[in-house]
Symmetry: C2
Subunit: 154 residues, 2 copies
Amino acid sequence: MGKIDKLDKQILEIISQNARIPFRDVAEQCGVSRAAIHQRVQRMIENDVITGSGYNVNPKVLGYATSAYIGVKLEKGSMYKNVIPEFEKIPEVTECHFTTGPYTLLIKLYARDNEHLMDLLNNRIQEIPGVVATETMISLSQSIKREVPIIKEA
Amino acid sequence: MGKIDKLDKQILEIISQNARIPFRDVAEQCGVSRAAIHQRVQRMIENDVITGSGYNVNPKVLGYATSAYIGVKLEKGSMYKNVIPEFEKIPEVTECHFTTGPYTLLIKLYARDNEHLMDLLNNRIQEIPGVVATETMISLSQSIKREVPIIKEA
DNA sequence: CGTGAAAAGGGTTCGAC
DNA sequence: GTCGAACCCTTTTCACG
């Protein structure tokens, strides 16, 4: 895992918000040449500083009107090894965290509507061996959505 | 908000996972010309089907070893209008959802370490007028992280 | 590690179907 | 709405500082 300097952070701050911006513009904002930007980005990809890229798609257009977090309690915490592969099989599940606090796992999922959400809960998630209880937190509106903060310095 | 057909979905499935893939390759995989891809993508950007793009940065390299979800209970649910702007001022907060269930708000944040997390909780979040209780769910490990599922059909 | 310039490749536009 | 081809800008490479 590579180290990062001020210029790298400056580059990341720009391209983390816009993957299609020409390196020409990044170079101008950073006060270096295009080639330098290219070299830096390449190195950061090799060093797993940059883990990927992508376009952001509006979930509503894809037919997903509902997103929710589900707190999952397991019979025994150690059962997560068998439970997580089951969640991976459910494409609507987009995140799964092993957490401290009231739940063993906290998962995020997308559903077309409330009926679809209920189906996922009753027929998919509750059916997984080891899952003893779930608590559903439907996101009625998401007011903040941004990237990891990049603090400018060294 | 625009409508989407099978070809659009196919394009989205590819570029949502890789913003830098040449349209040439997308065109080949979809069996159409480069110009068609260009036109489709352009239209989807105009119609807010595509909401942006970006590189994914490894949080650890930026000095964030800890991420957590915080369940926030408010004195009154209606206070969220005044509370959310306060969360927006905290750059470590990257998501904020108004939710059903045990909490009024569910927020996601990044912290350098446990000390930093404690500072954010005690000196920033608990200080916000209207916040009466918080419950911290530290993500000890994230096992699933993927995009909104794109189901292939019409 | 950065640079400028040349080479290679992809994005964008165009007229036509 | 799609196509192929031309055009132009960007990425990428390279020898040098």
